[in-house]
Amino acid sequence: MDVEKIRGDFPILKRKINNKPLVFLDSASTSQKPQQVIDAIKNYYENHNANPHRSIYTLCDEATQIYEKSRGKVSKFINAKKDEEIVFVRNTNEAMNIVAYSYAMNNLKEGDEILLTIMEHHANIVPWQMLQKKGVKLKFIDINDDGTLKMDTINDMITKNTKIVSVVHKSNVLGTINHVKEIGKIAHDNGSLFVVDGAQSVPHMPVDVKDIDCDFLAFSGHKMLAPMNIGVLYGKKEILEKMEPFMRGSDMIKEVQLTESVWNDSPWKFEAGTPNVEGAIGLSEAIDYLKGVGLDNISGYEEKLTEYALEKLNGISGVKLVSPGNAKLRNGVISFNIGGVHSHDIAYILDEFGVAIRSGHMCAQPLLRRFGFQSVARASFYLYNAKEEIDTFVEGLEKVKKVFGK
């Protein structure tokens, strides 16, 4: 993997922040975009823009082709059986809401249970909380201190009432990769629907929905080199077909009468209104880019960076990792604190060095509480990060300690 060449593809990496070269260590929040993706979007607007699925003129036909070809690209990328199993959404959060509103609200009843984990992002907790008003109970699988899921407790927690099991593939705070294939088997043996939050996994490692055998997989384009506001809900065709639409209006119908309508086929019945064609083409280009580098290469490289960073961090007194562990457990995501210094102050001082990291509750408050934190700082890596950038990051952390007299 030629990191120098990759870095050259990302124009923003030439940016200076506070007169220092940008060191972007917040890819778990959102990724930067390569020139190829930016050019694809520019080319779309310069040459092909029209509202897809609407008319029969040339541009409209081109926009429709671009949009639907992108769907096919995504479908192959995650090894779906059919392109129609790919619903374009805004992001993982919206995808989870479709499952919660269109599937769960219509199929679950009082006494049913939804099994989640304590390490979920808010996007995989808050939508399910809505089900509680129907008398549905939420249960949470706990984790070990090394950030791995307590797999041995799942069989005790899953019951005949468990209708949905929804699990994050890779934790945005811990970097832990969950054994989703194994969890999926337990869920399906129990007759439960199996949902996977792939927001952090799909951008960084090969993900195969046939292999995992999940019923739904949700992920966001912006974390994988594509623009914001394009995301994916993968759903098994037979399940999507039986579901009610989420948003209603134009393009998601076959026929509209004054008081009733006939829904379009899936996935289009879930895509009301003018879609995000620039997002879809951006995502398609991003997938080409990631495939070109190779997802295995990317995850391997991130592991190396993580190993290097962990070694450096272990050498700084006062730095406390949210969850200890080696690079194989952390997978490019390192959450930490410095005793007596709030994560916001860490992030602010690092910014002086041009270093961008996340601070705050990571949209995973239950998980942070589990470890006794209210907020943490997080450095996360991607294919365009260089080893030297970790040195700058560490230099910044030494300054943090100095400012706070540690």
Binding site: Y348, S359, G360, V403
Partner: protein
């Protein structure tokens, strides 16, 4: 933007806040969060003939949000409700005397916002 923000006063107040705690039988209590970072501040006030007799805060958050809340207490303690009502955020920030970046203004003003909420709840009584 610079580290000028982290003046000794801020760091010192962050480490050793003067006005932290609770007041007995408060006449007004308010709490708010900064949703982007999860910081929180709760303020309790005891009045005596519309004069702030005692005011304390509790909270979790960054050096800026916590120390500026602590400094605010110094500013309003022993003052009449009317007087404190007239304190604008600009006046408060001038008093703190630190050039906050736009993003950190939210941190710097969290305590101020909660204080105003507490004041309104008292006046609404």
């Amino acid at each position: 933007m610079s580290l000028e923000m982290y003046q000794e006063q801020i760091i010192e107040r962050y480490r050793n806040p003067v006005n932290i705690g609770t007041v007995e039988n408060p006449d007004a209590t308010a709490k708010d969060y900064n949703p982007s970072c999860g910081d929180d501040v709760e303020i309790q006030i005891k009045f005596d003939n519309d004069v702030i007799r005692d005011i304390k805060f509790q909270g979790h958050g960054c050096a800026i949000s916590q120390s500026s809340t602590d400094l605010l207490m110094d500013l309003v303690k022993k003052k009449n409700v009317k007087e404190t009502q007239n304190i604008t955020k600009e006046m408060f920030l001038e008093k703190v005397g630190i050039p906050f970046s736009p993003l950190r203004l939210k941190c710097a003003l969290l305590g101020f916002k909660v204080f105003k909420l507490a004041l309104y709840s008292y006046l609404g009584k």
